[in-house]
Amino acid sequence: MNVYPFITEILQILLVLAISPAFVGWVRALKCWSQGRTTAGMLQPYRDIMKLFAKDVFLAENASWIFRFTPYLVFGTAVLAGGIIPMLSVDLPLSATADVIVLVALFAIARFFTTLAGMDIGTAFGGMGSSREMTIASLSEPAMLMAIFTISLAARSTSLSQIVQVIYSGQSVLRPSMAFAFLAFVLISLAETGRIPVDNPATHLELTMIHEAMILEYSGRHLALIEWAGMMKLTLFMALGAALFFPWGIDNSGSAAGAFLSLVFLLLKLAAGGVVLVLIETGLAKMRLFRLTEFLGSAFLMATLGMLSFFILE
């Protein structure tokens, strides 16, 4: 039995755990530069997480086990998702346990429990965040699946490593359907990871926050886990986008040199993705909640157009 894929798998999970705060730090630093502010440095998220881990947990008196269980679950699903998306190699053992639909469902289960935790304490903020989060999720999930279906139609598979290999082998370069699916994917990623214009990760303003409203009551290591999982989620969506639309560089050969090369490519892609994200976030303002139907509706429309063009043009 070949142990090499298992080593790559473990390395990749550790890598996701390790670099996701740096990626978020990079995005924050870029944002500061683009808005003329001084940065706290790319390493600030690490310091934040370390600080939170060292702190005691303050738990509301009526918090139930759901509230305490949720951070671990959210973290667990993020780690599992980190093992599924091909980054260092196409040949990952965990990649076969779950296809793209399972991946979407993994994020959904994390969201399910986060919303429940938001309602657990019984504050108005928690319920508000939960309600809004589920509304946005129910609009973005169909669009997400439509975008994914468009790609999987071209690749004839919903398995991520298979999709990467098909695109890699040059069977589907620069198709119009891929372009539409990519646009849809970008819009949905903004919604799923809670970035501007859907949600603002930096705000604690009561009327605009969504994700922050749900986790408002968390503290100490619970908050650290949730924050870390959130950073991983952002990194993973970038990596997912890279794997689905720009898979070049992901190792196909199964050698150590190939894995190293794909690491370099991954870092480059993440750096570039961060720039794009900051450009979008700086250029747009946060939308009102009920304007989001148009935003996510257009994402759905893009994905549908992608699918139509797949059938009509290709």
Binding site: I101, D120, G127
Partner: protein
């Protein structure tokens, strides 16, 4: 062996019929009656599971003719893989619900005699088993009516309330409109099977051998689809579901929603795949569209409900829709001669039948436990129950996670299979189908996401936060049998979710019988851990690994973080430095659903009013604010209201004939005879 399986199944039915008499004998000793009768029901359900399970796994068919019934029209019984599958589903949930009923019915018996409940419970189970065993139209319809009548009396159980009687009446009317359609459908098929001279066309065997002309086959199918659809609660025939389920005792709602609706699915599959066999693609498209419509609208209506059991009832509409999506896709693939894909879609639909029985049974049992503990059905007056009902809340949560289609529970496994079936539709030869069917997949995704929202609301409002009710009642956890029943269902939800391959391997005989292919070869090609419906390159899912990885990460993270002891401090809720936070500041069921109500508002008839107290000193400082909100089905307003007014008007017109004078009636008969003589010479 195979004939003996049918004997076992018949014994299960006979035992249940016998239970009715036992309960009459033990009427004076209610406690003993409950113990004895539900024990017999458990044994009978176990027998049904045994017979059903082995008839599917052996893939064999056995038939028997019983010389009871009308002269020259004996009853035919048959146990084939399809019947066996549905028998297993019915048996599984009735075993679980019977265990639950030991505790649940005992609580009811403290308030009122339960003999009626026990008799009709047994008859209801017997009726459902008979429906799947029936192999001729006559016995099928008799069983169907036994099932419908028994469930009517069960819905009526607390008949002192007007709403219960109204709901039961509505249920009876819809059930019978459906039954008439089924009768007509069987009439067409049996007439065409032997011509209208002979009587022997009423057996399903005769229909299987017959060749139907296309237009008659279409008529028969449409009638059957309408008739069974009324029972299954497809949109727009769903109106009885949200009325009847909430008022029935909760063990009955669990059975009605979990398995009785499935007998209607059984009927559709039997008629389409087994009796008519060849059909054009648009039948499948019709089933698919109706399924999609039911799924999306069912879940949207469910989201708007504040009554816990009404919410669950509407969510049954949604799940029936998901099942029909699978069946409809299977029909489309069959009509285009793609048996492998048809098998996959059929398995997806049938697997959802089994899964929905488990999680909806669990949820209704949980709702029963909540309502028993709080004497409250309105979620707006619940909250914080997780602290007083630890078992019920944890088990209800399992049901919520399963029904929301989240891994590693069972709802996800069948929805995943349905998605895979959707994704294979591009291999269809028709370009229109290719284009439109993936849109259906998007609607299914919308349904899944909305149902997650719906069950976040159901669980969050009911069990989390603070108690919202006017006073704080003394609430305690439910008794052991009720917990045991829910635990059984919850374990099955998990097992069916992480071991779908084994179950699909078992179910595989059903598509083998109906569409002539099996997917077990590919679906389980890589061992029990891997579900690979078509090929490993195409898609694969491993429930056990997903489950174990998440579990181990949770355990590792928890252990690493709990090295330092005593680092959790319980403190009062942070109130932002303002006044004390009150329970009335919490989000409610209505407010949770508000964004979705606003976005999808065009689907409902909404009346919303805010009225300020006119006695206030100034309109900017109102004393009290009255908020009125009513969300209704559009169908109720657009379809049923005109229907009801029209039928009243017609009845009134016809009523004029009724003079109450014998002379007038004599004239009527005289005129009728003259007319008949003129036309029917």
């Amino acid at each position: 062996m195979t004939a003996s399986l049918l004997t076992v199944a018949s014994w299960a039915v006979l035992l249940l019929l016998f239970t009715g008499f036992v309960s009459l004998l033990l009427h004076r000793r209610q406690g003993l009656m409950i113990t004895v009768c539900f024990s017999i029901a458990c044994v009978a359900s176990a027998l049904a599971i045994f017979a059903g399970f082995y008839s599917v796994s052996s893939g064999s068919t056995s038939q028997v003719i019983i010389a009871v019934g009308l002269p020259d029209l004996p009853f035919h019984l048959r146990l084939d893989p399809l019947a066996g599958f549905f028998m297993t589903v019915v048996g599984l949930l009735s075993l679980i619900v019977s265990v639950y009923s030991f505790g649940y019915v005992r609580h009811i018996s403290a308030k009122r005699p339960v003999t009626r409940l026990v008799i009709f419970y047994a008859l209801f189970l017997a009726g459902m088993l008979m429906v799947v065993l029936a192999d001729d139209a006559l016995f099928f319809l008799i069983s169907w009516e036994v099932m419908a009548a028994a469930s009517y009396f069960l819905v009526m159980f607390e008949d002192e309330r007007v709403e219960n009687r109204r709901a039961a009446l509505l249920y009876m009317v819809v059930a019978h409109v459906g039954a008439i359609a089924i009768l007509l459908s069987f009439g067409i098929m049996s007439g065409l099977a032997t011509g209208f001279e002979g009587f022997h066309g009423y057996t399903f065997d005769a229909m299987r051998q017959a060749q139907f002309p296309p237009q008659w086959a279409t008529a028969a199918f449409l009638l059957a689809f309408f008739g069974f659809g009324a029972k299954a609660g497809i949109i727009p025939l769903h109106v009885w579901l949200p009325e009847a389920h909430p008022v029935a005792p909760s063990n009955i709602s669990a059975l009605m929603s979990g398995v009785m609706l499935k007998t209607a699915i059984y009927g559709m599959v039997r008629v389409a795949f087994d009796l008519i066999r060849t059909f054009p693609w648009w039948w499948g498209a019709l089933v698919l569209i109706v399924g999609l419509l039911s799924a999306v609208m069912g879940v949207l209506f469910a989201l708007m409900q504040n009554d816990l059991k009404r919410l669950l009832a509407y969510s049954s509409v949604e799940n029936i829709g998901i099942i029909l999506i699978g069946i409809g896709l299977a029909m489309i693939f069959t009509s285009f001669q793609m048996p492998l894909l048809a098998g996959l879609a059929l398995i997806a639909g049938l697997y959802h039948v089994l899964n929905h029985a488990m999680f909806k049974g669990l949820l209704f049992m949980g709702a029963g436990a909540v309502i028993h503990a709080t004497h409250e059905r309105n979620m707006e007056r619940m909250g914080g129950l997780i602290h007083v009902l630890p078992w019920t809340s944890a088990l209800f949560l399992v049901g919520c996670v399963s029904i929301s289609g989240l891994p590693p529970f069972n709802g996800f496994a069948s929805e995943w299979l349905t998605f895979q079936a959707f994704l294979l539709s591009p291999s269809l030869p028709s370009p229109l189908m290719k284009l439109l069917i993936p849109m259906g997949a998007a609607l299914l995704a919308l349904t899944a996401a909305l149902s997650a929202a719906c069950f976040v609301k159901a669980f969050g409002i009911t069990f989390l936060g603070h108690w919202r009710g006017p006073h704080n009642p003394h609430i305690h956890e439910v008794n052991l049998p009720m917990r045991l029943g829910m635990i059984m269902a919850a374990i099955l939800c998990l097992v069916l979710g992480i071991l779908p391959t084994i179950m699909i391997d078992w179910m595989d005989k059903v598509p083998e019988q109906l569409v002539g292919t099996s997917i077990g070869q590919t679906a389980g090609a890589f061992g029990w851990m891997w579900l690979t419906p078509v090929a490993r390159e195409h898609a694969s899912y491993s429930g056990p690994i997903v489950f174990l990885v998440i579990l181990s990460v949770i355990v590792v993270a928890w252990l690493l973080l709990h090295v330092r002891k005593g680092s959790i401090r319980r403190v009062p809720l942070w109130d932002c430095g303002f006044e004390k936070v009150t329970v009335r500041m919490q989000y409610t069921s209505t407010s949770f659903a508000m964004p979705i109500r606003r976005i999808f508002g065009f689907m409902f008839t909404i009346r919303e009013q805010v009225r300020l107290d006119p006695r206030a000193a100034h309109r900017l400082f109102p004393g009290t604010i009255h908020y009125y909100l009513r969300v209704r089905d559009r169908f109720q307003v657009w379809l049923y209201r005109p229907l009801i007014t029209a039928s009243f008007r017609i009845s009134r017109l016809v009523g004029r004939l009724q003079q109450g004078r014998i002379q007038a009636y004599l004239i009527y008969s005289f005129v009728t005879i003259i007319i008949l003589l003129m036309f029917m010479r």
